[in-house]
């Protein structure tokens, strides 16, 4: 079986599991909304300030929501003793990782589909005219969160205090992604939106470097 086909099957399994109960999605979205609301209490921004600080707030919400949401990705397999089944399956460990990454990407993207319009309405920021470019920035940023996050979820699943450990491992690694994603988003929200080429380069570099690294190191993550 090719890695792509095995990953697709795993992706379908993850989606079926999630859409049966929708636990992960609802908690992630509600958590994201709480961050967005708390921000307005903490800083009480004017519309001008919302445009300036909004992108930072939005990405902080995605990073925190992502670091919470990615935890069950491998911890659930660990708790149900299904990690051994995945190990024994005649598929490469990269296929397992790829399937999980795809599933996590879908979950985080779905959460963003709710959170971004909610943010736009609550903070009175118009996004319609930059929608296409914004989706590209969101996809690159979400890709980076999910690539590093899925790998670290596989690492932290074996550790004590794994719920605390995952954000601790993930958030510092995501620092360059956060900077680049926030700046690229901020450039789109200015009165004359522009495409931050160098910021997009950093986002793409982040995705490519860590995707390649996880492809090379996948075998070590799932070994017994």
């Amino acid at each position: 079986m090719t890695a792509a086909r095995a990953a697709t099957i795993l992706l379908r399994k993850e989606l079926r599991l999630e859409f049966r109960r929708r636990e992960l999605l609802t908690t992630t979205i509600v958590f994201g909304l709480i961050v967005v609301v708390l921000f307005s209490f903490a800083l009480n921004p004017t519309p001008e300030e919302s445009r300036r600080y909004g992108p930072g707030l939005l990405w902080i919400a995605f990073l925190f929501a992502g670091s919470l949401m990615l935890n069950p990705s491998f911890a659930r397999e660990q708790a149900n003793d299904t990690l051994d089944a995945l190990r024994m399956a005649p598929i490469s460990s990269f296929a397992v990782l790829l399937g999980k990454m795809a599933a996590n990407f879908v979950f985080l993207a779905l959460a963003e589909v709710i959170l971004v319009p909610a943010f736009a309405v609550l903070y009175n920021v118009s996004l319609a005219r930059v929608a296409g470019r914004l989706i590209l920035v969101l996809a690159l940023g979400t890709g980076g969160i999910v690539i590093a996050g899925t790998v670290f979820s596989a690492i932290s699943a074996h550790a004590r205090m794994r719920e605390l450990l995952l954000p601790l491992l993930l958030l510092p690694v995501l620092a360059p992604l956060l900077i680049a994603a926030v700046e690229a988003t901020a450039l789109l929200l200015t009165p004359e939106p522009s495409f931050g080429g160098s910021w997009l380069t950093i986002l793409i570099a982040f995705d490519v470097v860590f995707f390649t690294a996880s492809w090379l190191l996948a075998d070590f993550l799932t070994e017994e």
Binding site: H158, R162, L165, L169, P172, A175, I179, F210, A213, F220
Partner: protein
């Protein structure tokens, strides 16, 4: 053991020579005067940190490749030495920043990158503490170590695009940034001295890790022996 003695003597001699050169031979700096001399400690500390973290990266790959435990000992030791150097680098930078810039800290590219690097490797050490099985600890922390090392250039280039306040590099920093030749010699001597000191500490730290490992094995062995010896004794007392 003899190697350790010679290496320590060599490092000590280099530190004394470097210190003398930095304090008494290197000329006075035009604008900062004596304050500039922290540069002979600050720059070598970063050189030591980069060498330590590069050794850690190589050791991570070495463990995954060969499965020889001594690579794992080298990896954790090098990261610890790297974190200590990073802390010292940040501290000496702050000591200089306060009189030179009037502030202890600024969110400049180099400072921020160093801080993120510090956080990354502190997370590495925390991760090791939370993994029980030695083999698994070595493997998973090696994967994280590789990710952290690959992240460093990204952190720096992302921060670089923000405005930078740190003094521009004077050694490879373009046509107008010339370092006085005496200053350059003193600096090179100091860098060699600090990297040598780093090597001495690293060597001892690896030795400590090996002893810990041996102790752990002996303890397990003796536990197994006492467990085996206890069974008939309990049977007799009943």
């Amino acid at each position: 053991m003899k190697g350790r003695l010679w290496l320590s003597v060599l490092a000590a001699a280099l530190i004394i020579a470097g210190g003398y050169a930095a304090l008494f031979i290197a000329p006075d700096e035009r604008t900062m005067h004596q304050l500039q001399r922290v540069f002979y400690v600050h720059v070598p500390i970063w050189a030591a940190m980069f060498s330590a973290l590069t050794i850690a990266f190589i050791a991570d790959i070495g463990w995954l490749w060969t499965r020889k435990l001594h690579w794992d000992w080298l990896a954790v030791s090098a990261v610890e030495v790297g974190v200590v150097s990073c802390t010292a680098g940040l501290a000496t930078g702050m000591l200089w920043g306060r009189p030179a810039w009037g502030i202890w800290w600024t969110w400049d590219a180099k400072l921020t990158s160093a801080f993120v690097l510090w956080l990354l490797y502190v997370s590495y050490l925390l991760l090791r503490g939370l993994l029980e099985d030695p083999q698994r600890r070595a493997t998973l922390s090696a994967v994280f170590g590789i990710f952290a090392f690959l992240d460093a250039p990204l952190v720096y280039s992302a921060n670089r695009l923000f405005r930078t306040q740190h003094p521009a590099p004077v050694i490879f920093g373009g046509p107008n940034s010339k370092l006085d030749p005496t200053m350059a010699k003193a600096l090179v001597l100091c860098i060699i001295a600090f990297v040598a000191m780093m090597a001495v500490i690293l060597r001892d730290r690896v030795r400590l890790e090996r002893m810990r490992h041996e102790l752990e094995e002996l303890r397990e062995e003796s536990e197994m022996q006492t467990a085996a010896a206890e069974v008939p004794v309990r049977g007799e007392s009943k």
